[in-house]
């Protein structure tokens, strides 16, 4: 996002609210897309394909844009990644495919993300359908959590002929793609279109159902042939500082969510906003606050610039949006009577490296200061789903430090019938949509492999004559 650096002032009347929340990058025109596609070298065994966690055949989809086969281009993308339209927008491409493009060495890398968006948008806008449900194999799989991991797993299984039921506690499916990605990066319609595509493969999505409450985990494991868990993480934890109960101290994810599902002019934002934390969510909250009209937005982070979990391009983007960063600053109390008036902070310093080589912040004595604020946004990560983990433990699904333990090559948990993917297994490495999609795919493949023999037997006994007409793969 740095390349189009333009400091936005968002003065009254400068840009309307809907304009500020329209997709940040415009759609590539056909001419731009074809010109960019023709720049791609069509590398063999290309590094971009290796760098993509779902291993989309990037050179092929780009070549198809160049030859005018845009319909086929989107097919190539979706065959490896059913959520290709979301990933085109939310993937940290600088770190992944584009970061590895060979042209980065002496020219500019190919705009892979935007080309991917061009192809998938082209296909959606024309209502192209690429996949059919597989011939029913008589097996049932439950998918718990309908975010990117769950959708990917459900879609792949449906293509293979499984009867898939998804359980989603929210009222809409899509997980963070629907609720948690800032709207000027991904409009909610994109995520919902992907949900619809998966539903059209015959997947039944039961929203508003929390597994563990309305329906028991043991019940699922008993009544389905396999279960996939993609429940993600829970709400943002509390800061655990005095004054936190004040109304204007909000959960960062809920703040982002409002921009996805509410009328923009009905969202409350302060004029002086402090965002606590410096990860992806913090950046999204800070930039949203600016675009909603906040005059001053500061990111308050207890470590230094080098330790920030957000991507470099996100940092640059936030700077260009007029967000200020207060590093080595730890909030100690929210001040105010009735409403937030300030955030009391203390200065930090980086102490000696710990056993992992990471320098942890230590308090600088007597360095408290007060930052005037009328809104504080918590963006310090997400809580683990301990409630679910406890219930799952009873079924033999183990976890470690709040993350479900899976075998890397299969995404199978310690209960052989249960598989998991997405943020709820991602104890190391970046949690991301694209990694979740790959988890779903791998789990679907493992489930297929595990159950294929059973599927064959069931299928044969169900209908002998159907075998001959069975579609070949």
């Amino acid at each position: 996002m740095v390349e189009h650096y333009k400091p936005h002032k968002y003065k009254a009347g400068e840009m309307s609210l809907p304009e500020r929340f329209a997709e940040y990058f415009s759609r590539l025109s056909e001419r731009e897309a074809v010109a960019e596609a023709n720049r791609c070298l069509y590398c063999y065994d290309a590094p971009c394909v290796v760098a993509c966690p779902t291993h989309i055949d990037i050179p092929s989809f780009i070549r198809k844009i160049a030859t005018g086969n845009v319909k086929g281009s989107a097919r190539t993308i979706l065959e490896s990644n059913l959520l290709g339209a979301t990933c085109a927008r939310v993937c940290p491409v600088q770190e992944l495919c584009e970061g590895s493009c060979v042209l980065a060495r002496d020219q500019k890398p190919i705009m892979i993300g935007r080309l991917q968006r061009y192809a998938t948008d082209w296909a959606w806008s024309r209502g192209c359908k690429y996949f059919d449900p597989g011939a029913p194999n008589g097996l049932k799989v439950a998918v718990v959590g309908c975010g990117p991991a769950g959708l990917s797993c459900a879609g792949e299984l449906a293509k293979a002929g499984f009867a898939v039921t998804c359980f989603e506690s929210r009222s809409m499916a899509g997980g963070l793609d629907t609720y948690g990605i800032v709207v000027f990066r991904e409009p909610v319609e994109v995520s919902l279109a992907e949900v619809k595509m998966v539903e059209e493969l015959g997947v039944s999505i039961r929203t508003g159902v929390t597994v563990g409450k309305e329906i028991g985990w043991d019940e699922l494991v008993d009544s389905f042939d396999a279960v996939f868990i993609g429940v993600g993480m829970a709400a943002v934890p509390l800061l655990s500082i005095p004054g936190e109960e004040l109304d204007q101290v909000v959960d960062g994810l809920e703040f982002i969510e409002q921009t996805k599902i509410k009328a923009l002019d009905s969202i409350t934002v302060g004029q002086r906003v402090c965002v606590v934390g410096a990860g992806n969510t913090a950046i999204d909250c800070a930039t949203i606050a600016r675009r909603l009209g906040a005059e001053r937005v500061a990111i308050v982070y207890r470590r230094s610039e080098a330790e920030m979990p957000c991507y470099h391009f996100e940092y640059q983007f936030a700077l260009s949006e007029g967000v200020s960063f207060m590093f080595l600053t730890q909030p100690v109390a929210v001040l105010g009577t009735g409403c937030v008036e300030a955030l009391k902070c203390i200065r930090m310093d980086l102490g000696p490296p710990d056993s992992l080589g990471r320098r942890s912040p230590v308090v600088v004595p007597d360095s408290e200061f007060v930052l005037p604020a009328d809104m504080v946004i918590r963006a310090i990560g997400q809580k683990k789903r301990y409630d679910a983990l406890e219930q799952l433990a009873l079924l033999g699904v183990k976890s470690n430090n709040g993350y479900i333990t899976v075998a890397l090559e299969s995404r199978q948990t310690d209960n052989p019938k249960v598989f998991a993917g997405g943020d709820c297994i991602r104890s190391t490495g970046e949690a991301s949509t694209v990694a979740a999609v790959q988890d779903g795919k791998i789990a679907a493949r493992s489930i297929c492999a595990q159950l294929s023999e059973r599927a064959r037997l069931k299928h044969v006994s169900a209908d002998h004559s159907r075998r001959s007409s069975q579609e070949s793969t």
Binding site: E30, R31, N38, Y42, Y44, V49, V50, P53, T54, H55, D57, S60, R63, K64, T67, G68, N69, K71, G72, R75, E79, S80, K129, Y130, F131, D132, P133, G134, E156, K159, A160, G161, E409, Q438, K441, I442, A444, R445, C448, E471, T473
Partner: protein, 462 residues
């Protein structure tokens, strides 16, 4: 790192397609019209098997026959503005592997891929027994047919083979007859473009009993001269010579020659199918050859440049295009544009167009202006237009439509898609062809009368 998941990692149930790419080429069936041409990509069993695995519908094996020795530095290329190999010239000969080895591999490949078309290109010295013997040996492998290489323009032609055959219609007929006498499977004759009129060797091949024609082989060419060393490119140890030109640059020439053959009445009456070759790189190129009458198409340079994998988009792209156009099989469109081919004398003189610029798309590069001004009919002006929602201070190109002759140059020069369109206008001019005109009014062949006719028809040449 995750394991790489090929699309086969999961049973991928792609939507069933409504289209069928199967073709029947002189009795030989192939799952699709995309074949590899005789050349380096079809040099060995290993390569051909790999190509088949990736989806190619057929191949013509690298020419086998007379013993040869190859030289080093076989290629010269034309790179144009950052695009590599828009044209490729070569001085490679036919296969330098023995006939024995080739036949053994051909037998194996055909056994492993019985559903693909496998033709073997052959070239031997001009002796009846030698030709007949090799044809029998090739047929014995189970190959679907032979392709007679009457086209190689370098090396072999100096030894009385290749284009030395193809350039003399009598020789073409003679050798084709020798071969047809013994052949029990289809005999394809591959034509050289290095002739004045391709129809003559095409008819000669048909007269000799050819079951099909393939064209074109490479075009005589010299790629260039090195300005520092004065050596010819490609440089074979200080010397150089003409080679055969191939690749995207030759496509228009190949399209013309294919259309000349497919439009020829003698060829049409014989019902001889055509395999189109020359500069084909994408499904679009292939579709154009097929519209002009090719039943199958062959690719050499593009596979040399990008590898066998390009066939995936060829299959996918052609299928999608057919789907869009409502064609369910290739025969629905093969030859569909042949009937539109005619000669200048039958063009409609009353068909009039003028250039129209869409100023909402124009980026004000003024290339249309300068090309029209310097090389067409000076009918674009640069004007200070007041265009709403444009803050540009630059002037805008504006066509004086009454002066525009409709030559189409500006539209071809404009870098923006659909910015300049040639729109048809009704001038009231009669829809007559040149042939009709000179038949009705032979006097127009005289300039004075021509001027009179123009006045009467309101034809003003600016």
């Amino acid at each position: 790192m995750f394991q790489l998941i090929t699309p086969d990692g999961l049973p991928r149930r792609a939507r069933k397609r409504m289209v069928n790419l199967e073709i029947d080429f002189c009795g030989i069936k192939a799952p699709n019209p995309f074949w590899l041409a005789s050349g380096p990509p079809t040099n060995s069993g290993l390569q051909v098997q790999k190509a088949f695995e990736q989806g190619w519908g057929g191949v013509v094996w690298k020419t086998i026959g007379a013993p040869v020795l190859n030289v080093c530095n076989r290629y010269g290329t034309i790179d144009y503005r950052g695009s590599k190999i828009i044209g490729l010239n070569n001085v490679e000969l036919i296969s330098d592997r023995s006939v024995e080895v080739n036949l053994k591999e051909i037998r194996e490949v055909k056994k492993n891929f019985p559903d693909r078309a496998l033709f073997v290109s052959v070239m031997v010295e001009s002796k009846k027994e030698t030709w007949q013997e090799i044809i029998k040996r090739v047929e014995d492998t189970g190959a679907d047919g032979v392709e007679l290489n009457f086209g190689c323009p370098h090396g072999m032609q100096e030894r009385g083979m290749g284009s030395a055959m193809g350039q003399v219609p009598e020789y073409t007929t003679m050798v084709t007859e020798w071969v047809s006498e013994v052949a029990t499977r289809p005999v394809v004759v591959k034509l050289t473009p290095n002739v004045t009129d391709i129809v003559q060797p095409a008819r000669a091949a048909v007269a000799g009993g050819a079951s099909a024609l393939s064209l074109i082989n490479t075009i005589n060419s010299i790629i260039g001269v090195d300005l520092d060393t004065f050596r010819i490119v490609p440089d074979v140890g200080g010397r150089g010579g003409h080679g055969g030109y191939a690749g995207p640059a030759i496509k228009p020439i190949a399209l013309h020659l294919v259309s000349a053959v497919s439009g020829d009445l003698v060829v049409q009456q014989a019902g001889t199918p055509i395999s189109g070759i020359g500069g084909i790189e994408t499904w679009r190129d292939a579709a154009e050859f097929m519209l002009l009458g090719a039943t199958s198409i062959q690719v050499c340079t593009a596979a040399m440049h990008w590898g066998f994998r390009i066939v995936e988009d060829m299959i996918d792209g052609l299928s999608n295009w057919m789907d869009d156009k409502g064609f369910s099989r290739c025969s629905d469109f093969i030859g569909r544009s042949v009937g539109r081919m005619t000669t200048f004398g039958d063009f409609d003189l009353g068909f009039q167009t003028v250039a129209r610029i869409d100023h909402s798309k124009c980026i004000q590069c003024n290339l249309c202006y300068i090309s029209c001004n310097d090389a067409a009919h000076q009918c674009i002006d640069l004007k200070d237009l007041k265009i709403a929602d444009s803050s540009s201070d630059c002037s805008w190109p504006v066509v004086r439509e009454q002066d525009c002759v409709g030559c189409d140059l500006c539209a071809k020069v404009c870098p923006v898609n659909d910015c300049i369109t040639m729109v048809e206008i009704d001038t009231g001019r009669s829809h007559v062809t040149w042939n009709q005109l000179v038949a009705d009014k032979p006097e127009v062949l005289n300039w004075d009368k021509m001027e009179e006719y123009r006045k009467q028809e309101h034809i003003k040449i600016h």
